[in-house]
């Protein structure tokens, strides 16, 4: 396998972007990534997207996006793994470059959620349609059941979960691309309206439009495109039981644990070597469970992490310096790539007010569904 580097990145701001269509969003992010690396062509492209078909009635995004990028003819395909679609697109691009098959590969993600679809129902199609969605469960509902199981098993409290939202909003307030650039108080989170008990509105990531793209090439060619490439040193993908009812321990995310183990092994590092982390906080409880499955905290101790300051900027393991899905926004197919961009910029020292001092190794974890799929990538400053 060849060593692989990210040499350019681009993303739209995340939010309710009424004036931009699915393709507009994609082209904006992709052209910025290519300009960022002064690249004038691509050898291949992967487009992470959860549900263009249900959100805006548009499938077949590989050729559509290649065409609108002015690159009709290149190999391009859309990749789907629910909310982990972006992370899986990144993994496929990584594999294609590592294998020697292609040199310049774009990994992108895009979602247009604010165009009138029944978003709750579309997202629920990433759950088990026959055993779960049929009975009226929603995604906040699935994570609420995970939260209640975590509270039962470990004594985790609503305050613990609210502290995750407070922290991520504090980070997101510093991010110019974030959907919600404002802080929230613990009281505001605790008093926000119930979405799926015990989860409230401010425990939930928003409905967002947005796109993100990164350009990959072999490390040996990276200097042609940038002075500050970032190496991808580990990639892990895993699946778990689709239905929550089929998991012995609903509060433990097996796929996250498996994908992390694979990425750590490939990278040859330990969890304690990580300087900065992006995890899939689609709901506050998800960040708590992901920290445990990534072995960044002991099992059952995830609830304390945000409250104690461990995971805040300035803490020992800063988590979701971008604001996370909660504050930055969660255009589902774009999220995995946007997480990689936050780590890319952190390792290049480009994160401004959010910069983690002297960060050299970072990790991004992107989850699909209620945890049925997870992609983990580990990055290192060159």
């Amino acid at each position: 396998m060849r060593e692989v580097a990210i040499v350019g990145a681009g993303m739209t701001r995340f939010g309710e972007i009424w004036q931009s269509s699915l393709r507009d969003l994609f082209v904006e992010a992709a052209t910025e990534a290519m300009r960022n690396a002064s690249a004038d062509h691509l050898d291949a492209m992967y487009v992470g997207n959860m549900s263009g078909g249900q959100f805006v009635g548009q499938e077949h995004l590989g050729p559509l996006m290649a065409d609108h990028l002015g690159m009709a003819g290149i190999p391009a395909a859309r990749v789907e793994s629910a909310c982990a679609s972006g992370g899986v697109a990144l993994r496929l691009a990584f594999m294609e470059v590592a294998s020697g098959m292609s040199d310049l590969v774009l990994a992108a993600g895009v979602e247009k959620m604010n165009d009138g679809a029944d978003v709750t129902a579309v997202l629920a199609s990433a759950a088990d349609q026959e055993a779960e969605a049929y009975h009226g469960i929603t995604f906040p509902g699935l994570y609420a059941m995970i939260a209640r199981a975590h509270m039962e098993a470990y004594g985790t409290t609503e305050e613990d979960m609210a502290a995750v939202s407070v922290k991520n909003h504090r980070h997101g307030a510093l991010n110019p691309k974030a959907q919600f650039r404002r802080e929230v108080t613990l009281e505001e989170v605790m008093n926000s309206s119930l979405v799926a008990a015990p989860l409230r509105l401010l425990h939930c990531s928003p409905v967002s439009d947005g796109a993100a793209a990164v350009l990959l090439c072999p490390l040996e060619r990276a200097k042609e495109f940038t002075d500050r490439p970032v190496k991808i040193i580990g990639s892990g993908l895993a699946t778990g039981s689709m239905a929550l009812a089929d998991r012995n321990e609903p509060a433990f995310l097996d796929s996250v644990s498996l994908s992390a183990g694979r990425a750590y092994k490939m990278a040859g590092i330990k969890p304690s070597d990580i300087d900065v982390v992006e995890v899939h906080d689609c709901f506050s409880i998800a960040e708590i469970c992901c920290l445990e499955a990534l072995c960044l905290v002991e099992r059952g101790k995830g609830g304390e992490a945000a409250r104690s300051g461990l995971t805040a900027l300035g803490g020992k393991v800063p988590v979701n310096t971008s604001g996370g899905l909660k504050s930055k926004g969660h255009p589902v197919g774009a999220t995995g790539v946007a997480q990689a961009i936050e780590i890319f910029e952190q390792l290049r020292g480009e994160s401004g007010d959010r910069q983690v001092a002297d960060a050299s190794i970072g990790l991004a974890q992107n989850m699909g569904g209620s945890g049925a799929s997870s992609a983990v990538h580990i990055f290192q400053r060159v």
Binding site: R148, V195, A196, A245, P250
Partner: protein
Amino acid sequence: MPSPRYWREIPSRYRLEASRCCGCGKVAYPARKVCPACGADDWKQIQLSRHGRVVTSTVIHVPPDDFLMEAPYAVAVVETSEGARLMVQVVDCEPAEVVPGTEVNLEFRLIRREGHGGILCYGYKGVPAG
């Protein structure tokens, strides 16, 4: 949605039929072809008892459009005495009172009217026991 989906899913959904793995004894609901625990593909059909205990639960306040008239409603993962776990709504009670450990009976009910055709969808719901 094409109608064959409905009759295909009936054995588990209408009759609470599950299957027990002849290799390791695992109970799968709905029935599967391959055992997720041991990989065997030899199964014995069983009937789940209509009684179980809540493993974890939530109350849905923001539902999908098809369930707008129902909200707020409780949804729970319920484990039956055979060891099968299924996700069901729990009704005929205060939704907030459905918590881990709550004992429920499983009763055949209307789940929803689906899509523009208004197809009636039936299945099991939990009702707190006693």
